[in-house]
Symmetry: C2
Subunit: 478 residues, 2 copies
């Protein structure tokens, strides 16, 4: 097992340096690679396969809830970006500007989309005339660009891949319902597909999306106690419609402004998977999005019958899960370490002695449990074990989050927790921006959300002591 030790030693331990552990995992598991442009990454086959699995499942959920895919151009003319004033103020400082086409200077600068509200508005204006044209429930899978100063693979890259949903409705109520519906789909996806528990809530005004009347969020807690915003859903009211002069003739024959939403989730989710489930041996992938769900490793494969049996098992498993048989001449120890690093949920070992007994050894990636399984029971056992891994990942992440969620009754207590105990801090808030700013400056935490599930810790703001009605989650965040 010398090779295994060697490979494992190549990753920095989580406790020693979490940030370095993260980048080690990203590189060694071959998820992505840097390029010569800061903050622009290459999604390598293994990382892209995870993204494809995320897309496939999430896209199915969008379509099942009545949404259609479209695709907008990647460029936004400067004058179009400027039409909604809050929106442009939020995004203009970080967009990439195209100024030339070939050798000619463009008459108007174009930015590469940082998000596409303005493009959807321009399109709605041309295709929405009557209540019969509403609602439009659109989504697109594209990459967007934000020229960030500080970057990190998957968590904050200058170009990132995402889906952005954009919908337009005849009534405010319908648009509000859509906003919540999509937040619930995100939460459902994180919990039931990625095995990551999330807190659902609404952002404070300070943390709202530029141009939104309300921003809803799901917040997940990472291994190091930092929060990761994992999906957001925005309600725009009729603000964009008024700015872009989008109107429709309603059933009562009156011209009205429609109501809009948008919602997005991105390749950040891959960062969430790494940091919610990973360990000191590398990635631990939730089975539903793992590119390889079971890896078959033949033991003493030069012995007669071993490779044939491994092939036979692989062929059988290919009908019930994503399976790969590693028949390279690397040692079993090397292979064990390699697929642990890559987070493959189940490893199936098959050698001459196993064949004699008509069995195989299955090792779970999450808890290393070793299980002897009769070859006759594989079709029943593998799906069961994949489900068990999913459930255990979720239970562990939930237990960790609960252990790392603290309650603060006073500013001093909050600052003490923030300084010494990584995690979520629940505390009351009066609603004033000044208190939010002070907690940021003096305790280094930001408001993550006003959770839907409220609990009254006290009746006073943790910061100023004034009456408070809302409990907030605070924390340090990616």
């Amino acid at each position: 097992m010398a090779e295994q030790k060697k490979m494992v030693e190549e990753i920095t331990s989580m406790d020693e340096d979490f940030a370095k552990w993260y980048t080690d995992v990203v590189k060694k598991a071959e998820l992505c690679e840097y390029t010569s442009i800061k903050g622009c990454i290459v999604l390598r086959p293994y990382g892209y396969a995870i993204w494809e699995n995320i897309q496939k499942i999430m896209d199915g959920m969008f379509k099942a809830s009545g949404h259609e895919n479209v695709c907008m151009p990647m460029f936004i003319p400067e004058s179009l970006l400027e039409k909604e004033k809050d929106h442009v103020a939020g995004f203009a400082p970080e967009v990439a500007w195209v100024t030339h086409g070939g050798s000619e200077k463009l008459e108007e600068r174009l930015c590469v989309r940082p998000t596409s509200e303005t493009l959807f508005c321009e399109h709605y204006k041309s295709v929405v005339q009557s209540y019969r044209d509403l609602p439009k429930l659109y989504n697109q899978w594209v990459s967007v660009v934000r020229w960030e100063k500080t970057t990190r693979p998957f968590l904050r890259t200058r170009e990132f891949w995402w889906q952005e949903g954009h919908t337009i409705h005849a009534t405010a109520q319908e648009a509000q319902e859509e906003t919540i519906k999509m937040l619930n789909i995100y939460a459902d996806f994180c919990e039931n597909v990625l095995a990551i528990p999330v807190v659902k809530g609404v952002k404070t005004e300070k943390e709202r999306f530029a141009g939104a009347e309300n921003t809803y969020t799901i917040e997940a807690l990472m291994h190091d106690g930092k929060a990761l915003q994992s999906g957001t859903s925005h309600y725009f009211g009729d603000g964009f419609a008024r700015a872009f002069q989008i109107q429709f003739t309603d059933k009562d024959n009156k011209l009205k402004y429609p109501f809009q939403t948008s919602w997005g989730s991105s390749t950040r989710l891959i960062g969430a998977i790494i940091m919610a489930h990973g360990d000191n041996n590398g990635l631990v992938l939730p089975p539903k999005i793992a590119p390889i769900q079971t890896v078959v490793v033949p033991i003493a494969y030069h012995k007669p019958g071993v490779l044939e049996k491994a092939d036979e098992i692989t062929e059988r498993l290919s009908k019930i899960c994503r399976v790969k048989c590693d028949k390279t001449d690397n040692t079993p120890g090397w292979k064990f370490a390699e697929y642990e690093m890559k987070g493959v949920p189940l490893r199936l070992e098959i050698g001459p002695k196993d064949i004699e007994k008509n069995q195989c050894v299955i090792v779970r990636r999450d808890n290393r449990e070793k299980i002897f399984v009769s070859l006759d029971e594989l079709e029943a056992k593998i799906p069961e074990l994949l489900n068990a891994v999913h459930d255990a990942l979720y239970a562990n992440a939930l237990e960790r989050r609960e252990k790392m969620t603290y309650t603060a009754h006073s500013f001093e207590e909050l600052k003490d927790i923030a300084d010494n105990k990584p995690g979520f801090i629940k505390a009351m808030w009066c609603g004033d921006r000044a208190c939010e700013d002070r907690l940021k400056e003096e305790a280094g935490v930001t408001s993550r959300c006003i959770p839907f599930e409220q609990s009254e810790i006290s009746d006073k703001c943790v910061c100023c002591g004034k009456p408070a009605k809302k409990m907030l989650y605070w924390g340090k965040a990616y």
Copy 2:
């Protein structure tokens, strides 16, 4: 049927003005919409659904032949684009340049990828060291930008969506085989999925991709007799590897340059579908990529039992094809015209009299044939009819192409055909660029390809009369 007439009249007839017929179909079938940036289009739900179906099937073919998806950044630093001199000469005049990130001027200009050879080369350089790392068989589904002067929906847009495959191999032979293999996959896809017959061949040096040693192509013939290049596959030799200093240690322990290919097909294919199969009533979609394969139209739907029966049939059909039931209050005539416009392969009509007889009426989009089908036989009949539509589309397109393929023995004959008979022209060529240039200038045709299937028309070049060994396809092209 007043509404039907009205809708149909809205499209210009093909014979009257083919270009206007094309843009009418694109708009009325709601495939795409213009934006305020010339040459940048919105892919609307119906157009995007066609693209999704193309992607799904083609991606399956790529994966089945051992390819993996990745994703490169959208930006290429100017110095990276310039590394291969032929390549930069071909693309630099038509790229969009990013010069600013937010308010800061970038140290180096970045172009938005017009194609990604240079990005793949930079990546190979970091991940290819040994023969064990080869081959890499990569593909990506992205959009690219070329700042064209003349634009047209799907056929030539400044931003277009495509897949670009990029592979790297230890030997020239393996790379050459890959180039041909992928050309064959494109041809297979066009013929067996899109029902469009293609001519396979190699481009002349003049028409080669910038930086390639050889470019292979599939050429399809449109309704108006113009050719459409529908997919290309390039062999690069080791030219890019030398320019980018990509080397690997081979089995004999020597440092060598690897060999590369790239191959691409794009949303142009949607243009090909429109112009190869469409008619004066609108789109005619090949069943395999049609977003709706069967539309169910209830007749006299206010009569008892009709809607229930339509729902029941729709539910049954949803298990065997992509089906939609139109229960809106539009008239049947309006619906007939609407789904003809949208090219839906089969229309199923069900009314009170049909229900009495336990039957329905199925109308084929391609030839308008009306078929009475027992409701007990739907599951057998619908797939059979979808296949029949596919086969008929292919046979018609092939017959038309054969009728529109002419043979020229002299320059005068070629010019006469070019002036008067739209289509392919087969003629001999000596191999000189000067003759190619003269045919372009004086007869307005370009060389489409040197077809794999050669036939010797004469032993003299159609242009200069010198000895000629190759037969070429010439034509006017999109």
